[in-house]
Symmetry: D2
Subunit: 151 residues, 4 copies
């Protein structure tokens, strides 16, 4: 359980829908922000991953190929950030998969789970790029079992 | 191929991300809007589905249990709406699954595909509610094979 | 009253806030979209304005310097688009001001009004660029009195 | 300069537009979030303001009557939150005005300024409600000159 990043993602008033719950699409904006934080914080022996934030505008070093989400219970609008655990559940030649669990607070039950499929890109050519040894090491350091989905 | 709804969903300037493509999360906002249109337009012999728009604020008649999306190619920001085909690919006792394909324009190749899992709710009790015969008839009239996903 | 564009901007489920009204910020996303349509549709004797949509990604031909909005009554979430009237209420050397009125439907009372200040830019240099004679002609053709604000 | 709240509002990847800048509309989502924090944090001798967050879903204790914003320079997408100073620049019978300044970081030059007009509401009746002595005291404690706007 320790080979994962514990990320804090603040909510916004506009994340709440007409039912007073965090909107289904807003949940995926929270996951997107968790992914940005994951790529900024993941580190192992000085090795890092490409960053997804302002440093890499224009052409992305990562392409999201797919995602899954299962909503288990609604998240409520609160001043406190939601808690997202994120880890690596598959490492391929030029791709990886991230698993995640979202909780209202770190000690709350899981409200949503899911997967992100990512391909590493060469921003110059726009084609997939094999993971470097350093990147593989970072991903390995955060490796765990794929999150269990019901469907 | 005809037992599906062909829905038009307009883009917004703010859907485009820092790479000039429709943002991954915005794609799911387009799917959400397609779902609202699907529930408003689906009809068979005078039978309809509960509506997800302003008529049902406060307590939802539908709960989204999960979704999957696969991004095949980027959508571009254009004045013309994107084209979303949506159909029913599973009918359960109180739940159903919608499959969808998104294209830049009706004749474009598929840019994204995915699934939505939905449970019908009793807004009074907040518990699942079995599909009525009329609702089942509407869902049947738009039934097709589950969209093919790669993963 | 005729020297204005009547623009239709579709709503989205996610525009509604926890009170079931179109969120204050979402109103400005509708105005942004109306501005994109205004620049795409404004035309006079074959003269046009720079477009704000996908044709001009990367470096903008227009810089928004400021905006004002007054909310007179809430907009409701509906399947039908809101109606936005937009016209030119000031023309400067390299800048202009747009006035707007938003209605739930074309015949509804005004729900929100406001102003947009815009500067025309040279995308190569990132500096303001004087309006061309053709652009001035287009703006002139849609000129009217500044919308009345209460504050 | 001390009678104001210094608020930190985190950015999101989806706030950046196709030009790599924080989108004009997203700036107002940041202001909205600052307003929520302002109402949650403003306090004077144990007196507080009504909260705008999850505690007051359903019927709002505050109605936003209008806003102004002037964009002085673009905000960039960064991992660090933007810094928003917010204070009270007018106190009426049942209304008030908030002034604000947005900076990329606390020591950066001002990137945007503006005003928010607010009316205090009785959520039961949906009508304006006179400020209580306690609320007036809180607003007084954060009172300052109206932010200077250029237009």
């Amino acid at each position: 359980m320790s080979r994962r990043l514990h990320l804090s993602v603040p909510l916004r008033w506009s994340d709440a829908d007409a039912y007073g719950h965090i909107n289904n699409v807003a949940v995926l904006a929270l996951v997107e922000q968790a992914r940005v934080l994951f790529f900024a914080q993941a580190e192992c022996d000085g090795e890092t991953l490409p960053r997804l934030d302002g440093e890499n505008l224009g052409r992305s070093p990562i392409f999201l190929t797919g995602q899954r989400v299962e909503y288990l219970m609604p998240l409520r609008l609160e001043i406190e950030p939601v808690s997202i655990d994120m880890w690596v559940s598959h490492i391929g030649g030029a791709d990886c998969e991230l698993s995640y669990e979202i909780r209202q607070q770190p000690s709350s039950p899981v409200a949503a789970t899911g997967l992100n499929g990512l391909v590493f890109m060469n921003p110059e050519t726009g084609r997939p790029r094999r993971l470097s040894a350093g990147q593989r090491q970072v991903l390995d350091s955060l490796f765990g079992e794929q999150v269990r989905l019901r469907h």
